[in-house]
Amino acid sequence: MVGLSVGEKHFIQGGIAQDLRTDGRKRLTYRPISVETGANGSARVKMGKTEVIASVKAELGRPNSSAPDKGKVSIYIDCSPTAAPQYEGRGGEELSMELSAALRQCLLGGKTGAGAGINLSSLSIVDGKVCWDLYIDGLVINIDGNILDALGAAIKAALSNTGIPKVNVASTAPSDEQPEVDVSDEEFLQFDTTAVPVIVTLTKVGRHYIVDATSEEESEMSSAVSVSVNRQGLICGLTKRGGAGLDPSVVLDMISVGKHVSEQLMNKLDSEIAAAEATMEEE
């Protein structure tokens, strides 16, 4: 993807080893993050040159028979061919699928919903009959490394900007029929996003690991671990990329570093989201 000369490769690797990266950052520093929230349930996040958009749409649906008291959430990511020509046609499908799967794993918790960033029970309207289907769509517009963290942040911002209309259920409906529901146009319930975790990807280059790698740095990686951490400091999901094996103790160390970094990122994001929403209201 990125063509680098031997010299450039050495420069990047050497910089990382000396804790001074090519753009002047330290190993565990993020690039400037900017968050912009748009109309109901959408957000744009820029991390350096990486730019993603996330949008949340809610539709009424029927809950699964295996979990009648829960709503459903689906996450789909698309890579726009504007980001790189190889995502033309079906070319972006592989990466899109991988990102979608990683985000589902990091945000939606286990099978029973334990550790999920989104409380699925809160999406239920009438048990077994009606619930909200939440569709989270992500679009990658510009790629310069660390897409997963950016998408995670964008989804968090979009969710905090999502209002779910209040629903009144006609109580008279007989039990075996689909109840009539009335979706309010005026009253919205704000989505609770305190539990939504942030995703921190640690990229291992040489013997060290860095956060928020650029495309150039990612091309030099041996492996990368993405940890999703919530406000309590609990791990809500983890995926690994890259073929090279890691010693178990290194994995544990990366998890603890990820946890540490996540706190800063979480605070940074929260203030950015608050600022973005404030500007929205001003307008």
Binding site: S55, E59, S80, A83, E88, G89, I141, D144
Partner: protein, 241 residues
């Protein structure tokens, strides 16, 4: 349904001959050779240009001119109802073709033989007139990429509802089922490169509507020219010229 009120106002408060707010920005995608965001009211598209570069598929290589390729994609969240269409449905393919043919007509392809230029257009918000917006964005992106062109291509649509010619239809007006004339022109040469209409319209009215759309194209051209000049000035400033 009433699309033009007795006071002569349209649903979104515009006058029949009024265009929506235009906004354009160059260099939205850092990795592309040229890119632009173009907004017409609530319609928002990004265009990115890659090339001229080596032809990826040898069999497509043209020995006397550049190969122009174009792909049009819509984001899942771009429309009011969430859609999940497979990539490359018929509508996208058709619009990709329209954009490609329009841009091919103005790029000086013979200057870049055996090479390839990719134009990717991504719709972020669709509110009518995506075709026009895509062409305008593509023009800007091509100019940003420094690709030699005969002239800028600009496009605008016009329609005819409630016995009134309307400039730059939005989604509600577009889906009213009336005629929708999309025109693309080369403003300096004063030539039409694109003309699409899929409804019946009497000849004299059609001429009016097309005239209106052409005027719209010229307005877009003026705006695009301003944006490009502004961008060039900034570049000059940065270089300290």
């Amino acid at each position: 349904m009433e699309y033009v009120s007795p006071e002569g106002l349209r649903l979104d408060g515009r006058r029949p001959l009024e265009m929506r707010q235009l906004r354009a920005e160059l260099g939205a995608v850092s990795r592309a050779d040229g890119s632009a965001v173009f907004e017409m009211g609530n319609t928002k598209v990004i265009a990115a240009v890659y090339g001229p570069r080596e032809v990826q598929q040898r069999s497509q290589q043209l020995n006397d001119k550049a190969l122009i390729r174009c792909e049009y994609t819509m984001a899942n969240f771009s429309t009011g109802d969430r859609m999940r269409k497979p990539k490359g449905d018929r509508r996208s393919t058709e619009i990709s073709l329209v954009i490609r043919q329009t841009m091919e007509a103005c790029i000086l392809t013979h200057l870049m033989p055996r090479s390839q230029i990719d134009i990717f257009v991504q719709v972020l918000q669709a509110d009518g007139g995506t075709r026009s917006a895509c062409i305008n964005a593509a023009t800007l992106a091509l100019a940003d990429a420094g690709i030699p062109m005969r002239d800028l291509v600009t496009s605008c649509s016009a329609g005819y509802l409630n016995s009134t010619a309307l400039l730059d239809l939005n989604y509600v007006e577009d889906s009213a089922g009336g005629p929708d004339v999309t025109v693309g022109i080369l403003p300096k040469l004063d030539k039409v490169t694109l003309l699409q209409m899929d409804a019946k319209l009497p000849m004299d009215i059609f001429e009016n509507v097309m005239q209106l759309a052409t005027e719209g194209c010229k307005a877009v051209a003026n705006y695009i020219r301003e944006v490009l000049i502004e961008n060039t000035k900034q570049l000059e400033n940065r270089r300290g010229v």
